[in-house]
């Protein structure tokens, strides 16, 4: 089953074609890598897929449903969640609260019930705590659940971002440079985490990454972008051995 499909997706900023004619097809349960030199338009693709930018051309589909032009909240509700290249946690909230914010739409309890602390308020809060605890356990963050997010070490902040994105209960998870700034040990742990999420949450993951060890280690398929256009696409090993890709990365 195809989870994400983009058809001739493109966006212009003024006269600049930041992304053009991008066609992606990502199957259920796949770990898909989006790579390319700096400024190739990778994060722009994420911004289009999450509704931050409206594409100038083309359409994209999640499980066959056209999501082009929807707002970020609507897209999130349909099932696309993301992390950020530059970490954007809610720094002055605790680790657990960060995850609970993202559980917002899964549990229902209106303002009236919250203010007057009716039974449902407590029931919902309890369910949210439970779900948050489960997610934090996956990433080994349970011990730090009451720590302010801004006080977490860098590697754990990256993991918390993934936990928070997962809390919105997505069908497709977008990871923007999840290993950026991590040391080799942290990266290895992260790779295990990502595989674990794919297998246990039955998740489809699209990730942007510069760490080639991570990319070649876990991605099933790759798409390489250069100057906003598709340079190569296919099985990871094939793409990484493609002479054009090597040239784009290393020069002539």
């Amino acid at each position: 089953m195809t989870v994400l499909e983009t058809k001739n997706l493109g966006i212009d900023f003024g006269g600049l074609h930041a992304v053009s004619e991008l066609n992606l097809k990502i199957e259920q349960g796949m770990l898909y890598g989006l790579i390319g030199p700096n400024g190739a338009g990778k994060t722009t693709v994420f911004n289009i897929l999450t509704g931050v930018y409206k594409p100038t051309f083309g359409t994209f589909y999640l499980n066959g449903e056209n999501l082009t032009g929807l707002s970020p909240i609507e897209i999130n509700k349909k099932g696309i969640a993301r992390t950020f290249q530059n970490i954007r946690l809610f720094g002055n909230m605790t680790v657990e609260q960060n995850v609970m914010v993202a559980l917002h739409n899964e549990f229902n309890c209106n303002l009236f019930e919250s203010i007057f602390r009716l039974p449902r308020h407590f029931k919902v809060e309890k369910q949210m705590h439970k779900k948050a605890t489960e997610l934090l356990e996956v990433f080994g963050l349970s011990k730090e659940k009451d720590v302010l997010a801004c006080n977490l070490p860098y590697g754990k902040q990256r993991k918390l971002e993934i936990a928070r994105a997962l809390a919105t209960n997505p069908k497709l998870l977008l990871l923007d440079e999840p290993a950026a700034g991590m040391n080799p040990n942290e990266t290895a742990e992260l790779m295990d985490n990502i595989r674990f999420i794919r297998d246990n949450f039955n998740m489809t993951i699209l990730l942007i990454e510069h760490d080639m060890k991570l990319v070649s280690g876990i991605c099933d398929e790759l798409t390489v972008l250069n100057f906003g256009t598709l340079l190569a696409s296919g099985k990871t090993t094939e793409v990484l051995n493609n002479p054009e890709v090597i040239t784009a990365y290393l020069g002539e």
């Binding site: 909240i73 914010v101 993202a102 917002h104």
Partner: protein
């Protein structure tokens, strides 16, 4: 010396009402990152609503209170939707000027209404809330005093719990930190900001009830000076902080009561300005206010 305790009580009363209004300022600033200068005028609208309901319509008191809270909440909601929401994302200065405009608009509408209906905008309540009083030695504390203090304390604690322990509260915190990221995590930013305005305005309505019960008058300009002082209180306590707003409010109230009571007659007239002198000293010593968070931009 015998003036000390009664002055303190006056200060606490005034300060508690400032605190309630400061809570509204601090919430809206903390979450929507804007200064709603029309917030003080919401109290004025609340007070006129009370006046009309009590004096003209002779409604039962409980119904009057509910109507005042509803009117203010709806007003807060509408003002945000019509005047501030279209400006979200534009410069803070544009929003600030709009807020000042809304403030004057409300004042003038109230003036127009009161002049046509009653012939004069300053009106006096007959004392509508009598809760007896407590005499300790030669100090009398009225039931209304107690009501003011208890209400403020309960609301402060309630607000802190609400922000920390509820779904909506957490959404507010998330919006206050990063609107974009909150939105991408499925938080409805517009709805969250609307709720913030509704709660802030409901608090202003409660402040107007306590104000009317204690000081028993209403005037079209009452909200603006009162609002500025409450704003000063919020800044004093550290804007964005809930306990800060209450502590700031109480301190500003007490300073004002003491300067009115103890300064010699000629200086006394300037007692309004006194609180602001203290505010300036405070901001020089601790720019983030008493309980404000130190924010250092990462370079």
């Amino acid at each position: 010396m015998e003036k000390l305790i009664p002055t303190l009580i006056d200060g606490l009363n005034l300060g508690s009402v400032y605190a309630l209004v400061a809570l509204g300022y601090t919430m809206v600033y903390g979450i929507a990152k804007m200064l709603n200068f029309a917030h003080g005028d919401v109290i004025m609208v609340g007070a006129y609503t009370l006046f009309v309901c009590i004096t003209t319509l002779h409604l039962p008191l409980w119904l009057t209170f509910i109507i005042a809270i509803l009117v203010c909440s709806v007003l807060g909601f509408i003002v945000e939707k019509l005047a501030y929401k279209p400006l979200r994302g534009s410069s803070p200065l544009a929003v600030l000027i709009t807020a000042i405009g809304v403030s004057y608009l409300l004042q003038n509408l109230a003036l127009l209404f009161a002049n046509t209906k009653y012939g004069m905008d300053k009106q006096f309540f007959s004392s509508f809330l009598n809760l007896g009083s407590l005499k300790i030695g030669n100090v009398t504390i009225s039931g209304v005093d107690f009501l003011i203090w208890i209400t403020t304390a309960v609301i402060m604690v309630g607000m802190m719990l609400f922000i920390k322990k509820t779904k909506t509260g957490r959404a507010m915190l998330a919006v206050s930190e990063d609107k974009g990221a909150a939105q991408l995590m499925g938080v409805n930013v517009n709805k969250t900001i609307s709720i913030t305005f509704i709660i802030g305005s409901a608090l202003a309505a409660i402040a107007s009830i306590l104000f009317a019960a204690k000081y028993q008058f209403v005037e079209s300009t009452m909200g603006s000076l009162f609002g500025i002082k409450a704003f000063a209180a919020a800044v004093f306590g550290g804007i964005g902080s809930i306990p800060g707003a209450v502590i700031g409010g109480v301190i500003i109230g007490i300073i004002e009561a003491f300067s009115t009571a103890f300064l010699p007659g000629s200086v006394n007239a300037a007692s309004d300005g006194f609180a602001f002198v203290i505010l300036i000293i405070m901001l020089v010593l601790k720019p983030t206010g008493l309980l404000g968070k130190q924010t250092t931009e990462k370079v």
